[in-house]
Point group: C2
Amino acid sequence: MKVFIEPIGRLINEFAKLPGVGAKTAQRFAYKIINMSEAEAQNFADAILGAKKKVRYCRICGNFSEEEVCDICKTRPNEIICVVKEPKDVVAIEKLNEFGGVYHVLHGAISPLDGVGPDDINIKGLLKRIGEGGVKEVIMATDTDVEGEATAMYISGLIKPLGIKVTRLARGLPIGTDLEYADEVSLARAFVERKTI
Amino acid sequence: MKVFIEPIGRLINEFAKLPGVGAKTAQRFAYKIINMSEAEAQNFADAILGAKKKVRYCRICGNFSEEEVCDICKTRPNEIICVVKEPKDVVAIEKLNEFGGVYHVLHGAISPLDGVGPDDINIKGLLKRIGEGGVKEVIMATDTDVEGEATAMYISGLIKPLGIKVTRLARGLPIGTDLEYADEVSLARAFVERKTI
């Protein structure tokens, strides 16, 4: 005797494909769907298909976009390009409402151990944009892990010779930290990069 | 400037309707969908619609079913009826592979504080099944919380006068417990219901 009837078992399997979702959680999600109205379930299914069909990558910056060129690339000056690893990093920075420039999404980070080299991420697109002129500064906003640092160093090595300012997001103690509990690497970094006040 | 483009924002909103899913998790789920192939996303959407459209309640026991009468009611003897609160309780018991009787799903528990009375859960259906004859035992497998206990007591009060055996799942110490860490209520219960060995 199967424990779940086929349509429920199938839906549980689909939900279990989502990141961090195990069998129990997938089951709870499936029951939630079954308890929805038909219209709500239809909306849910439409949202999945809509996101898959309507979302593509901006031809210029590589971020998610509904059109060939995204709204950010269309409307903002391209003097400052902020280079990030993933589209979700753009979201994190946009939420700050601090940065008014454009982005460049690499879709990965250089990681020899995982077999990801410079040609496997969107560096060529960045060099092309810089070659078209008008760019004054490139902010490397890749992660602060080993791969992110390596990627930032590699790209800055390519761009600096072109006479363009390359910056890196400041690293140091997170705001609101008890010094005692700060991780050693960040604390050491904060010493090295200490500033006159 | 919106942080998410419309199709992504919409999908995040849908995922955030699932139980225990906050904004960050919904965002991760949405990215997972966008990174799926079209066929995978279509399968996901179909599973949602399929579950919603194909799943209904068994006319006899109230459990999820693809047909008017579920496979369990169709194929098993109805001498022993196990009464549970929700369809997911049937799943939990079926996984044991111990019980060979049929179920009755109440779809709720009596809870005066929440305005749920005996007429709001499927007790009538249970009495009707018993009235049709052949039932020898009713196992009350409702939760062991206040509502579950009240429901079990109420239903057993209705059924016992009909001369049918009514049992309740044993309560006491969970297997593998350190006595020291057992909750007081279960420990007290285990004393009261101690058995000769």
